[in-house]
Subunit: 219 residues, 2 copies
């Protein structure tokens, strides 16, 4: 468990007692891909320290539409699964695994008690929040002002990197749920991409046929 | 200047030295409505403590489109005009006065030096950021999933409250710049509102003719 030290840059700036508090309370967990770990602001499982795998934080509409707000990877810390540590965190994120994931869970009240006393931990938490806020503002700019073909090309490029394969096992529905739009909108644009020779479509699969063209489009 | 104490809930939890540091560095300023106080992430004027007036934080596209991200009023603290206090605050907000505004400016490095040492100040800053993040996530949900008529009705209701008048001195262009859309889209919807008897339009003015109907639409 000594390795929590590797994830938290404040480790050298907190007391031995605080380190022990965090270490002794952290619980190691393993989750299969597709598991919902946190659901809405009433939920407060704890802070996640991601050892391996991939998480997705999404918002959902009353009608069941979805949009990915950010993703988390190995070494990342997930603050919003511990939303009760701050009273102003008033939004309903859903956090789910996108790959098999190993993580530590630090109970919210333990983290909060350390953060309340330690300027180093509180300032670290501030930086975490600032970077999420930056991502969300970037996202709102994309949604407002970027054309959908560009956004879809960027999404396919990102998936290509994450999956390490030119054949993506992803449905149009799943893409729509990442991008906050309807399936039909995704299908229409993918068909256009296919007509341009950028992708080849088959059931549940998208093959990236011309990655240079895709890159040009993503800009 | 003793009154900084009224704005910062952490005042009782910092040292006398820290209080003096903040008080002695704060500069009182008065700005006319329509003044740009902060422009982008390279700018770092300082923390604003708003004594009276109204500010607007907006994002802008390369093509000059705009959207209001949040507004600040009497008693609010503006953190993002001191964006250099956190390295992860990587976004370009523009902050401008919407009414004649009185505020104190606390130099960023002074605030940062107090925040670096004081868990109370750092945790307070965390709460500020969390509430902004909550507003931005709310906003992205609106843009993605709320119909434009509802959003426009909500905007007019908010203006009605802020201005304390049923006659709003606002152009279609200004509304478009609040809502992240094009002027034509606003004009079209306002004309529909007028045909429904909800508003009466004249040059540079919108009269709220049926506030019950407006409320029903805003939902």
């Amino acid at each position: 468990m000594a390795s929590l030290a590797e994830y938290f840059p404040f480790w050298g700036n907190i007391t031995q007692l605080e380190r022990e508090k965090l270490e002794s309370s952290a619980v190691a967990r393993v989750y299969k891909s597709g598991t919902i770990l946190h659901n809405g602001s009433q939920d407060c499982v704890g802070l996640f320290v991601i050892k391996s795998g991939q998480l997705r934080a999404k918002i959902a509409s009353d009608e069941g539409k979805e949009m990915t707000v950010f993703r988390l990877f190995e070494g990342d810390i997930c603050l919003f699964s511990a939303s009760c540590i701050m009273k102003s965190l008033q939004f309903d994120l859903i956090i789910e695994t996108e790959k098999n994931t190993e993580l530590w869970v630090i109970p919210p009240l333990v983290y909060k008690s350390v953060m309340d006393e330690s300027a180093a931990v509180a300032n670290y938490t501030n930086e975490l929040m600032a970077s999420r806020l930056s991502e969300v503002i970037w996202l709102i700019e994309q949604v407002l002002w970027k054309s959908f073909d560009k956004r879809l090309a960027q999404f396919l490029e990102q998936e290509n990197i994450l999956e390490g394969s030119d054949i993506l096992n992803i449905t149009h529905e799943m893409i729509a749920n990442h991008m906050g739009t309807a399936r039909e909108v995704v299908t229409r644009m993918l068909k256009y991409f296919q007509s341009e020779g950028i992708v080849k479509l088959s059931r549940g699969k998208i093959e990236l046929a011309d990655k240079n063209k895709l890159k040009g489009l993503a800009g």
